[in-house]
């Protein structure tokens, strides 16, 4: 495989224009931490953005940071950390779950292209909610921009949103401006112990419906909780509620939340261990087992998560745990069969949503469409959008929709 490793936007444009002219498929990647998600791409050429790096703008008081798409996320997070700021959407690191990628662990472009978020997405929004502007090269080999460096911007179509979560199939991102926010002064996590999935879901709903300003809500059933923090939690189920902010506020809200659950057994997890446990939830560490047992990432309404999981487990062996108040379900299929048809039918009968097969062998990913299939007018619209950005179908062809 030939790899092109551009260092300027013009070089990116040249490569894509050449590929479009030749009809030559390009695999587009940053560090490749997520290259094993989606249908395997058949191509002889890779467009490697890892050398298109560098932070180009950072104004903490303006809450704005701009960088080239190939900039390592770790570099950005380190700089933000020095100034007491963060990417509020808490992007997941896929390496524990998938292996792969180099030591630097993912780029800004990859995070936006895959709309990678974490537990705080529930409160603070997804990656796409923090993108203020982009420069990119379309599959036509044309450079364009959208947005800017300000939050309030309704000038023209929001192409930044259109490209977020497009997995490199519409355009190659070259520069991204993101909104950054203050990092919390401190945090604490309350863990309600011993709840079954339905009671946990009700508890999380009550917590999120309170004035506690919960920034993350996850449920680790028995069998999963024991794998967290090196076993420190013990194996009783743990329903986690994170509170972040200024010290006095966190203390007040912790009391408020405890008052919501007078009958519950509640452990209070201090700041350092709270950070550690949420990193493990964020990165799906319970399933980071070095195998390629199929792992699904499912998004449904919070009230439906546990019902869907129950229905699934009555028909196929699976381990599950929940984030986003129960609306994000991580599922590892213990029998080795991804059971895609069953899962997708259950999503339809539980109010809708989507499931993404984030880990599976290449042959399994080729056979089972990893992304939620679309039908009818919606599928046709998506196909038309793809054609408008990449008429010759050279950018990550076949990765999302069926070829």
């Amino acid at each position: 495989m030939t790899a092109f490793t551009p260092t300027t936007t013009e070089e990116v444009r040249e490569v894509v224009a050449w590929a479009a002219g030749e009809g030559a498929p390009l695999e587009v990647l940053g560090h490749g931490t997520k290259r094993d998600i989606g249908r395997p791409i058949q191509s002889e050429h890779a467009l490697d953005l890892s050398r298109l790096g560098g932070i180009t703008l950072y104004e903490p008081n303006e809450l704005v940071l701009g960088a080239r798409a190939g900039t390592p996320i770790a570099e950005i997070e380190a700089l933000l950390g020095e100034h007491g700021q963060q990417l509020a959407f808490e992007p997941m690191d896929y390496r524990p779950l998938l292996g792969g990628g180099n030591a630097s662990g993912g780029t800004l472009g990859g995070v936006v292209a895959a709309n990678v978020s974490g537990p705080r997405r529930l409160k603070a929004g997804a990656a796409r909610d923090h993108v203020l502007g982009i420069h990119a090269v379309s599959g036509r080999g044309e450079a364009f921009k959208s947005g800017g460096r300000v939050v309030k911007n309704v000038t023209g179509y929001d192409l930044s949103k259109g490209l977020a979560g497009s997995w490199g199939t519409l355009a190659v991102l070259t520069d991204i401006v993101v909104k950054v926010l203050p990092a919390a002064e401190t945090e604490v996590t309350l863990a309600l112990r011993g709840l079954l999935d339905d009671a946990a879901t009700a508890a999380m709903a009550a917590a999120l419906g309170s004035s506690g300003e919960v920034s993350a809500a996850a449920h680790l059933p028995q069998g999963i909780s024991g794998t967290m923090l090196g076993g420190m939690l013990g194996d009783e189920s743990a329903t986690l509620l994170r509170l972040e902010g200024f010290g006095p506020s966190v203390a007040y809200r912790a009391d408020l939340l405890k008052g919501l659950f007078p009958q519950a057994r509640i452990d209070e997890i201090d700041a350092d261990r709270s950070r550690a446990i949420w990193r493990e939830v964020r990165d799906c560490v319970p399933f980071a087992d070095g195998t390629d047992k199929p792992v699904w990432r499912v998004s449904v309404a919070p009230s439906e998560g546990h019902r869907l999981a129950l229905a699934l487990r009555m028909q196929a062996p699976a381990m599950v745990f929940y984030d986003w108040q129960g609306g994000l379900i991580w599922i590892r299929m213990e029998g080795g069969d991804p059971e895609a048809d069953l899962l997708r039918a259950l999503i339809r009968s539980h109010g809708g949503g989507h499931a993404t097969l984030v880990r599976a062998s290449p042959s399994m990913r080729a056979a089972v469409g990893p992304f939620e299939p679309q039908e009818g007018a919606l599928a046709a619209l998506s196909a038309r959008l793809k054609a408008q950005f990449d008429p010759n179908g050279i950018l990550n062809p076949g990765r999302m929709a069926g070829a």
């Binding site: 044309e142 309030k152 000038t155 179509y157 192409l159 004035s211 919070p302 619209l381």
Partner: protein, 498 residues
Amino acid sequence: MSGLTMPKPDAATLARRAEIVADMRTIVPGEGVVDRVTGMRAFETDGLTAYRQLPLVVVLPETVRQVSRILKYCNERNIRVVPRGAGTSLSGGALPLEDAVLLVMSRFNRILEIDYENRVVVAQPGVTNLGITHAVEAEGFYYAPDPSSQIACSIGGNVAENSGGVHCLKYGLTTNNVLGIEMVLMDGEVIRLGGRHLDSGGYDLLGLMTGSEGLLGVVTEVTVRILKKPETARALLIGFPSSEQAGQCVADIIGAGIIPGGMEMMDRPAIHAAEDFVHAGYPLDCEALLIVELDGPPAEVDHLIGAVEQIAANNGSTVCRISRSEEERLTFWAGRKAAFPAVGRISPDYYCMDGTIPRKELPRVLAGMRDLSEKYALRVANVFHAGDGNLHPLILYDANKPGELEKAEAFGADILRLCVQVGGVLTGEHGVGVEKRDLMGEMFDQADLDQQMRVKCAFDPNHLLNPGKVFPQLRRCAELGRMHVHRGQMPFPDIPRF
């Protein structure tokens, strides 16, 4: 803009008007079709009242099926359609076209479902923004994006414009608070995007639709996020001897890691106009007034109030009042909320602009505006969403004086150019519509505009939805689709490969 060029009306459509009206009556029986001039007058303008145009016919559907049939009918006959919510647009987004069906969504006015467990409301697009909050406030919830027209504007219109409001910095814009929509494409197909779950499973079509100003499809249902109302809210009213100091105070508040619920600034002319009107007790000897609102648990709010007070003092504040009651908090806001009518009181007309700038550029932009004010011999007052850099210059003029409207528009266009020059954008909240359409070239080059128009081609290839808005040029989709292909060498052959 006074010589506003709109797409030439289609003669064939005009000639067939009677037939089209009759066919619309078949699709929407009863009172849902208005074709007499007296009835259509109510719809000939939106919030940009300088521009008026009677449509071909006004149609007010009640069901999704009717919307689908109307669009399909128009698509098959090449008839243009202008969608309309409540008609509060300040940029002419709902300005009719002589040969277009004006599709009014106001009869879609029901809240369909309130789901407290998942914290969403499912509403029809004609429900007002404030109507959503009213539906859930008894349980202590609210819908966060709060444009100042919220008592009248529709949630469907909010989606079309990606509306904002005072609380955007902390709570986001419409696009950050909408979880799903049902919409009808120009060919009549009904599709659903999102729902009660988070994120899209495919392309973020919902993100593209939000803020698309009625050009990509017609929204027929909206699912929005509702939030628990903060336990308390308190405000500070802070006066400064200069806008530089006020601006630095804003920067320091953000730099201290504080994200206020709202942060608004007014300049001297705006302060005086507001005080003369509502007597809220604003200090009259300040160059800039800052209203900072902090919301959340009492412990947090009290802590932050103290911090902001100190930051204000460090920046030379001459006045700093802290609200001690809900009534006092509302009094602080009274002047700011009345700023536009207050300015309307001291001038026969005013033209409200909307641009966004990086916050730190405010003193420079205000100075630039003072120069422009002299150049055009028109007064200007400024209201500024200090939290997110969205600026509302209010240009005072008298439409009865020949040439003053044109001068006001030219002044406004120069302000927007200045916003773009300092790294900002043409519009933060009001949308492009017709008002800023011809300034799009200030921000985007042809390649940028072409790529946006290609998105349009995916949704509405016949260019029938809301033509003449947002984009200065109509380019045929076939033309946009042409690829200039250069077959040839592999790019940069010297670079080693592996």
